[in-house]
C-alpha cells in the first residue's frame, strides 16, 4: 500500500468530518414505516451513502471517525447509545464492521464503472452495506452472546428485508443527489 493513498487534502478531511456528522444526524431521523410492521432506522444507510458519495477511502475514514466518537462516549448511535459498553453488546460486530462495510461499498461501486449509476449504487449497497457488514456483524453477535454462528445468522434474518429496502432508498437518494449536484458524479459517464 503506497503512502500516497493516505495523503489528505483539506476538502478530504472536511468531507470525512461532515459524513461522520451526517451519520450522527441520520440516527435522529424518525423511524421510517415502509410497511405497517417494518420500521427501519436510517443510520445504516449512512454506511452505504458515505461509500458511494465520498468514495471508499474517505468514506472509510468518515465512518471510522464516527465509530471512534461513539465509542469515546458521544451518544451518536440510533436511540442515543454510545460509550465503550457498545463493545460488549450483540451489535459490537456491526459497529466495528461499519467502516469496513463503507470501504467495501465504495470499492464495489467504483469497480462497476461500466454499469449505470442506480445499478452500481444498488449493488455496492447490497454487497458492501449488507453482505460485508453481516459477515463481520454476525460473528460478533455470536461471540458476545455465545450463540452458534448458525443461530446468530438466523437471529439476524428478520433484518434483511429492512436492509434491502435501505439499499433501494440509498439508490433513490443517490439518484436525486446526482440530479441536484451533477458534478459529484461527473467522473462516471
Amino acid at each position: 500500500m503506497s503512502s500516497k493513498a493516505f495523503q489528505f487534502k483539506t476538502l478530504d478531511i472536511v468531507q470525512i468530518a461532515l459524513f461522520a456528522a451526517i451519520m450522527a444526524a441520520l440516527g435522529l431521523i424518525p423511524k421510517i414505516d415502509i410497511t405497517a410492521n417494518l420500521p427501519i432506522t436510517a443510520q445504516s444507510m449512512g454506511v452505504m451513502l458515505a461509500g458511494i458519495i465520498i468514495g471508499k477511502r474517505n468514506g472509510f475514514f468518515a465512518i471510522f471517525v464516527f465509530t471512534l466518537l461513539a465509542l469515546a462516549g458521544l451518544p451518536l448511535l440510533a436511540g442515543g447509545r454510545g460509550g465503550l459498553g457498545l463493545l460488549g453488546t450483540g451489535t459490537a460486530g456491526f459497529i466495528i464492521g461499519y467502516p469496513i462495510a463503507t470501504f467495501a461499498t465504495g470499492l464495489i461501486f467504483e469497480m462497476m464503472k461500466k454499469l449505470s449509476l442506480p445499478v452500481a449504487t444498488f449493488l455496492g449497497s447490497v454487497l458492501g452495506g449488507i453482505v460485508v457488514l453481516y459477515a463481520i456483524g454476525v460473528p460478533g453477535l455470536a461471540l458476545n452472546t455465545s450463540l452458534s454462528l448458525a443461530d446468530a445468522t438466523v437471529a439476524m434474518l428478520p433484518f434483511i428485508p429492512g436492509d434491502l429496502i435501505k439499499a433501494v432508498l440509498t439508490t433513490l437518494i443517490v439518484m436525486s443527489i446526482a440530479r441536484g449536484l451533477p458534478e459529484q458524479f461527473a467522473h462516471r459517464r
Partner: protein, 200 residues
Amino acid sequence: MISLYLEQPTWLHAVRASHKLLALALITLVMMPFADLLLWALALFATLSLYATLGRPAWAQLKSYRPMLWMFTILFFLQWWLASWQLGLLVVLRMSTLILLANAVTITSTLDDITEVFLWLMRPLRKLGIATENLAFAMSLCIRFIPILIAILNALLDAWRLRGGGKHYWRVIAPMVIQSLVFSQHVADAINARGGLPKQ
C-alpha cells in the same frame, strides 16, 4: 453537545483515562475465557459495588440501561431454549458486567481524554503513512459539525411536515447531503485561507 460524561467528580475521575482503559482491557481479556456462573455473579456484584462508590449520579445513569433488560430477557430465554438455562444466565451476567464496567470508564473520562488515548493507539498507523493528526482534526471538526447537521436536518424535517410530506422521512436525506457537500467546499476554502490543515 451532550455526552455521557458525569460532571460531578468522583474518585474514578481522578484515575488517568489510559489506566482505566488498560484495566478494562485486561479484566475483559482475563475474564472472558471463564464460564463459571459464581465467578461472573461475583464480578457483576463487584461492578455494582463500584457504581455504589461513585455516588448517586452514577446510579442514576444506570437507568439509561433499562431498555437493555428486555434484550437480556430475550437472550436468556433464547439460550435456555437452544442450550441450557445455565448458559443463558452466564451470557446475561457476562454481558451486563462487561457493559457496565466499560460504561464506568465512559462516564468518568472526558471525551478529550479518551480520544487522546485512541489517537495514541493509532500511532502505529503513521508507519503506513496515515496522517493521524489530520484524523484528530477531523474528529474535532465532526463534533463542531454535528449541531450544524442536526439544525439542517430539523429545518428540512419541519419543511417536510409543513407541506404534509407524510412518513417518508427518508426524502429529506438527499437535500441534507447536497447542502452538506456544498457547505464542505466553503469550509475547506475557509480552512485553506487560514493556512490549511494543522501540521505536526
